[in-house]
Symmetry: none
Subunit: 233 residues, 2 copies
């Protein structure tokens, strides 16, 4: 496409670009104080509000540090002043409750529409999980795959997307701490059994049974996490 959005229209962006250049070129080193806003405005031949807008943009980018009554200082290439506003960061139990509601329906749908290859994929995930447990490792990959395969067996890409997203929230720090107290075979063994029950119901095309089995599984998972949680407190 030969056309490029010509948008040097926004003055504050041009000014920010110039100041950025001044900093990178070494005109102003780390910790150095930039000229006052009024001077910058005069030098660039623009109004002070425009300079301020540019400076705010640079501040959000973490390039400069504006100190009231003092001046504008070049900040070291590093961290943002306040960490990213970040996502809502749902708690572990919230995620489990959500999965309880969503994945039980997935199981029910999967029982209705799962094809032979999809059933085999679920079974394969279960086998992988067994293998991981045999090696005394946390069977998280297998666990994840099991739930994901069931979502895929619904034939609905959106549901797969949702289940994957919920699983990713497991990356949170709270989850990590819990997992550390949750990796005993004694605790994973019942989870494996519950998985088998879910698969059996899906294979039998038992819609209600699959839903109930998944509900039980996640209920139990919640309970297991609960005890770990209490111990942790």
């Amino acid at each position: 496409m030969p056309f490029q959005s010509i948008e040097p229209r926004r003055l504050y962006r041009q000014i920010a670009e110039q100041i950025r250049g001044l900093i990178r070129s070494g005109e102003f080193g780390i910790g150095a104080r930039l000229p006052p806003e009024r001077d910058l405005a005069r030098q660039f031949g623009v109004s002070r509000p425009s300079v301020r807008e540019a400076l705010i943009a640079l501040e959000v980018e973490g390039l400069v540090d504006v100190r009231i009554g003092s001046g504008i200082y070049v900040r070291a290439r590093g961290e943002a002043p306040d960490a990213t506003p970040a996502e809502s960061e749902a708690g572990p139990f919230e995620v489990l409750r959500a999965r309880h509601a969503i994945e039980s329906e997935c199981a029910a749908l999967a029982a209705k529409s799962a094809t032979r290859p999809q059933l085999q994929a679920i079974e394969a995930a279960l086998t992988e999980m067994e293998g991981e447990m045999a090696e005394a490792k946390q069977p998280l990959p297998g666990d994840r795959l099991f739930h994901l395969r069931i979502a895929e067996a619904t034939g609905n890409g959106s549901l797969v997307h949702v289940v994957r997203m919920l699983w990713e929230e497991r990356a949170g720090p709270l989850f990590k701490r819990l997992e550390h107290h949750y990796d005993t075979p004694a605790l994973w063994q019942p989870a494996l059994a519950e998985h088998r029950a879910v698969l059996k119901a899906i294979a039998a095309q038992d819609c209600r049974g699959a839903r109930a089995a998944m509900r039980r599984h996640l209920d139990q998972a919640c309970r297991r996490f609960s005890t770990s949680w209490d111990i942790l407190q």
Copy 2:
């Protein structure tokens, strides 16, 4: 230097935070246009330059998209104005099926645990929808808010997250085309009635009834889309 320099000093940061909240709370969905700068200034009780500074901060963060002469629009998570790396782009019917499975459970949970203020929020969304229909506009914002408020009434942040994500997939081009053939009052009227039925069941703490009502609603929505789809082919 003292300790935490509580720096809500900067007005533009407070304003940016408020707008961020408005977006996250579902007040404005993806693609929605925020009120004009002048209105925002009046609503927040600040000057327009301050609002502009806040908007520039949000723009640099990639949260909004300021279009000259047109307005300020909420941008999707993925930033970079250039070509999006192509989403998984689930089909409209897939999304509706997923919502059928998930939001019906949300309604059931909401019936169990909705507080008075949460019920009022749902009702307010319904009222907004009515207002939009009275103006012969597509009641999409109100519709979105209704479903989002129900998810919030479950008290589970993960579920809210999921419902919001599913709604965002509506930004896809396929949906847009369908909506064009779907904006007759004759088609929206039953949707409104179904919404009322859902709210009624939730208010009555009728768990099964709420689930059934939401199921019916999304079933019907699917059917309505279906006819539009056929016409379009």
